[in-house]
Amino acid sequence: MEGLIVWLIITLVKILVILGIVLGVGAYLTLVERKVAAHIQRRPGPMVVGWHGLLQPLADGIKLLTKEDLFPRYGNRFLYNLALVMALVPATLVFAVVPFGPEFKVFGVEVKPILTDVNVGLLLVFALGSMAVFAIALAGWASNSKYALIGSMRKAGIVVSYEVVITFAVMGPIILAGTLSTYEIVQKQIEQELWYIWLQPLAFVVYMFALLAETGRVPFDVQEAEAELVTGFTVEYGGMKFGLFPLVEWYIEVLSLSAIAVVLFLGGWSPINIPFLGFVDPLFFLGPLSPFVWFILKVSLLFLFVLWLHWTLPRYRIDQITETAWKVMLPLTFVNLVLTAVIAPVLWG
């Protein structure tokens, strides 16, 4: 009985911490994105609210919350609101299987900094990732607007093609680790003293492309396409409902997929890796905190890289995107899969 209560308390605390971090960070990533975009275009970005615009997300939140709740005529109100829930919930649920660091002890209780260490963690991630397409399709359909519908159909086309690609791309690390649990994959990388990016560079590149496509980042942002579609499926949403879609798509999903990429390819919370030789930890002075710092550092660097790509590249056409997915990316992942399946037993018997 006592064990159950302790477990419940720990889980509740974990949920609160993860939700707080994810939603709070998600809000502040809007500021990061605006600052990065601005500086790439040689603007200073938001400067007025707070020091260098630090309070801008709060101001935006208040502004969005006080706006009128508009609803398009002849839209479907149930689906319209359901799309919001369908967008937010799977995107945040992915963080349930993201391991933030190694096991540690608090008050004599072993705590794993991961909400649920299920042994099919990665399967859960990609199952939830493919739920995103429903939210967007529903949002486009329920809005009763042609722009929104075109945007959501484009997004559905992209996600359907890249869902296949991403699943085959992560097959390589799964074979190398021999497990689907995210926590175990990181443990395996630490035991084998090898980040899987060194053996799977192809899979990593394909994964990054699929990440950009699934989250609707440039060069695959045809479903937004400000110039043609006036921001696609969100066009009929207003106020905080409008604010929620980019928050989920551009920040929470990018964050969760970057975290998964770090877990799969960059060794989770492990420090810098020299293949087959060991780990070098320039942050050793942080002691037990250093794994967490490494994890956050890697995820944020990956996120900044995605932002950097976003504000550099032009946009592909929808046919080019799906063509790349089916004709280039998918065969490449097959080749990668076969090679990995041959190499993995040779390396680790």
Partner: protein, 207 residues
């Protein structure tokens, strides 16, 4: 003849290592760490060039009137010349030149000693296109366009410039910018002064 330019197709090396991406990314990262070039508008303002076509004003009598035109017009209309007041001689040439003449409302009055002066000069800026024909038409260099470009107001009444406002703008202008040359070239030190907020590094002029 049209010159056709074709993009060179990417080589296989470029495709495999995303060299086109890398080139673009290197450009953006270099820009990202350079100084920003924004003017923070409500807090910092650029001074427009002197030829800017902004709000109108009346230059006042200060001894710099264009001669002999001013003397001739004063003679013809028997205008009361008063230092510090508008140079206007009520010739109505501005209203004639205007494509929307009803925006001008000009009246003169006769003083007890038989001389005349302008008593009413309203310009309704709601109708104005800022074409500057009235400025070209003015024979005594009275009506002019200033560098005031923040012209928003809270009521329609605010957009009507009356004689007092025009004179105030004119006095202010004559104090600030009368001495400047009308045209500013790229190698002019005046230009340096205008854009001083950006602290630009303009090429040194060799003379």
């Amino acid at each position: 003849m049209v010159k056709k330019v074709f993009e060179k197709p990417l080589s296989w090396i470029e495709r495999i290592f995303f060299l086109d991406f890398v080139r673009g990314l290197s450009i953006t990262i270099r820009q990202a760490f350079r100084r920003t070039i924004t003017t923070h508008y409500p807090y910092e303002k650029l001074t427009p060039p002197k030829r800017f076509r902004g709000f109108f004003g009346h230059k006042v009598v200060d001894g710099n009137e264009p001669q002999p035109a001013f003397e001739e017009w004063v003679e013809r209309f028997k205008i009361q010349v008063e230092p510090g007041k508008s140079r206007c001689v009520v010739c109505m040439l501005c209203k004639r030149a205007c494509p929307v003449p009803q925006l001008f409302e000009i009246e003169g009055e006769k003083l007890p000693d038989g001389r005349r002066r302008v008593s009413l000069f309203n310009m309704n800026m709601m109708l104005c296109t800022f074409c500057g024909f009235c400025v070209d038409a003015c024979p005594v260099d009275c009506l002019f366009q200033s560098d005031i470009h923040e012209t928003a107001g809270y009521t329609r009444k605010d957009s009507v410039l009356d004689l007092q406002t025009l004179e105030r703008i004119g006095r202010d202008w004559q104090r600030r910018r009368e001495e400047e040359p009308d045209r500013i070239w790229i190698d002019d030190y005046q230009r340096q002064r205008l854009w001083y907020e950006n602290n630009p590094h303009l090429p040194e002029v060799k003379r």
